[in-house]
């Protein structure tokens, strides 16, 4: 099993995709952080966003790392679909004809890669957001800004989104369809269910909603407080999704003819 996980990691790290995805993720988080720095303490329509010196600002800024979830989901989709696109799945199953361990190894490798992306995102946030607070004359309090909990939430979110991507990739097998489905899911479906208050009772049960519950961002940014599950329930929902995706990936692959 260790050998299979190493083989999966080898496959991922011997193509260029992973570092391209990581750079794009860091860029997007950079833009979010830049926006958070620029718009801090701005008043509009009688409501004001938290000032850079407040613990709430760091809390909001820190949660930007969760926006990396779409990139790791796409990475997961490609980890699975490129096996079919380039037919490398043939060689994979010739080296290891028992397919369930191969899928399990892919999922474990996915978790590791998701965690690595989360660490990269958190390191980037550290070098950008914390100086931003200090330069503004604020004090950084990790506990007041819930940094450990948000960081854990980002870690779980990114790691599990790779599994979501792998499951989705195994289901559709077509790379472009898989990537489009991942984008539509993250931006359109999750977006709609998390933004409209009437849909939030459903949205909180979706993977994105559960991931936000884990981070417990409970700040009114002008749209009202989000309707979220308690953190522990968010964690359970995410684990349930992970099991579901793993099952989908395995069930759709184990008996299929590779022609």
């Amino acid at each position: 099993m260790t050998a299979l996980v190493r083989a999966e990691l080898h496959k991922l790290f011997t193509t260029r995709l992973w570092w391209i995805m990581m750079i794009v993720m860091i860029l997007l988080i950079g833009i979010s952080l830049g926006f958070a720095i620029g718009s801090a303490g701005v008043e509009s329509n009688g409501l004001s966003t938290p000032a850079r010196t407040s613990p709430e600002w760091l809390e909001l800024a820190w949660s930007a790392g969760a926006s990396g979830s779409i990139f790791v989901m796409i990475l997961g989709v490609i980890m699975m679909t490129s096996e079919y696109r380039y037919q490398t799945v043939t060689g994979t199953f010739l080296a290891t004809p028992r397919r369930t361990p191969v899928i399990a190894a892919k999922l474990v490798a996915g978790l590791i890669v998701g965690a690595l992306f989360a660490v990269a995102a958190l390191l980037f946030e550290t070098v950008v957001a914390i100086p931003a607070v200090l330069i503004s004359g604020g004090e950084v309090s990790l506990t007041a800004s819930h940094i450990p909990q948000i960081s854990l939430g980002i870690l779980a979110n990114l790691a599990l989104n790779v599994l979501f991507g792998i499951g989705l990739g195994a289901l559709v097998r077509n790379q472009i369809a898989g990537v489009v489905a991942a984008i539509v899911w993250s931006y359109a479906i999750e977006g709609i269910f998390s933004s409209f208050p009437a849909l939030q009772p459903v949205g909180k049960w979706l993977p994105g909603g559960a991931a936000r519950a884990l981070m417990s961002i409970d700040i009114d940014t002008g749209l009202g407080r989000p309707d979220l599950l308690p953190a522990w329930a968010g964690a359970l929902v995410l684990i349930a999704y992970a099991v579901l995706f793993a099952f989908v990936a395995s069930a759709t692959t184990v008996r299929r003819d590779i022609t």
Binding site: A3, G91, L94, D257
Partner: protein, 296 residues
């Protein structure tokens, strides 16, 4: 033990019976050509043998067991399926290293195998820039990684230039005849395998139409003898009187069926007819193949 055993194999894709009750074996130390037109079911048979496709019924076994039940498959079976099974952005060496890791082989086997197939110079190059012939060699390098004793190759000569085909022939003969491996190689281009294989199995529309040693199949049952003589009409009459079927090919050449060369020579001697040429006519594999697979 029989290296490869296919027994009553049946596999359908929807309404199409790709492989219909095929049975044959391949022994160690020999090269068997698995021949048939495109779409005859060759690839489906080979993929069943490698547990990539699940047969509807029948068995496809290697050393008496299914591929998926083999503990270390890369060390027992080397397979070349299609030359496109590579990620274009990965280097040749990294492609093979990944297989070594998954197959629990020493990673240094990757470089050794690349050297054996003549790709050592491009080990660090991305496969995307490889020609079809280089991809075939890389696929072969993957097959020999674990130093297996059984080889299953699907159209390995596709995309190879004449020098590459010559190299492949030598390579397959070396594996079978010097190292005692069992080699099963499919092809639809018969001239590619005619000089390489010991045995042939011919498939058409999923059904096995002929199998046996190459020599037997090429010689055939109604083998004819080509005879050349200045007194062709006289000899023809004599041969027909002796019960042979005679065909005038040219002014001085006859094609004789129903008598072997010894009987023909004896008859000519009795009549004091000088023969300038006597030879067994071997129909080439291409012709036999077309006869066997046409109209089915």
């Amino acid at each position: 033990m029989t290296a490869i055993e296919i027994r009553n194999l049946v596999k359908s894709f929807g309404a199409v019976k790709a492989v219909d009750d095929v049975t044959f074996t391949v022994e160690a130390g020999s090269v068997t050509g698995y021949l048939g037109p495109n779409g005859a079911g060759k690839t489906t048979t080979l993929r069943s043998l490698l547990s990539l496709v699940t047969p509807d019924s029948g068995e496809a076994l290697i050393h008496g067991r299914r591929y998926r039940d083999i503990e270390a498959p890369l060390a027992e079976v080397g397979a070349v399926l299609e030359a496109t099974s590579f990620h274009p952005g990965r280097t040749a060496a990294n492609h093979l290293r990944g297989l070594c890791i998954a197959g629990r082989l020493p990673v240094k086997r990757a470089e050794e195998a690349l050297g054996q197939v003549g790709l050592a110079d491009v080990a660090g190059k991305r496969v995307g820039g490889f020609s079809l012939g280089m991809r075939q060699r890389l696929a072969l390098a993957g097959a020999i990684l674990g130093r297996p004793r059984v080889f299953i190759l699907d159209e390995p000569a596709n995309g190879l230039d004449p020098a590459g085909i010559e190299w492949l022939r030598g390579f397959l003969r070396h594996l079978a005849h010097d190292q005692g491996a069992a080699v099963l190689v499919s092809s639809h281009v018969l001239s590619e395998v005619e000089q390489t294989v010991d045995d042939v199995v011919i498939l058409a529309r999923g059904k096995l139409v002929r199998q046996g040693a190459l020599d037997e199949i090429v010689t055939g049952d109604d083998a004819s003898v080509r005879v050349r003589t200045a007194r062709a009409p006289e000899l023809a009459d004599a041969l027909e009187a002796a019960g042979a079927t005679v065909e005038r090919v040219t002014e001085d050449t006859l094609r004789v069926r129903g008598l072997d060369s010894e009987a023909i020579g004896q008859l000519a001697l009795d009549r004091r007819i000088v023969l300038t040429e006597v030879g067994q006519e071997r129909s080439d594999l291409q012709k036999v193949f077309l006869e066997l697979t046409e109209g089915r």
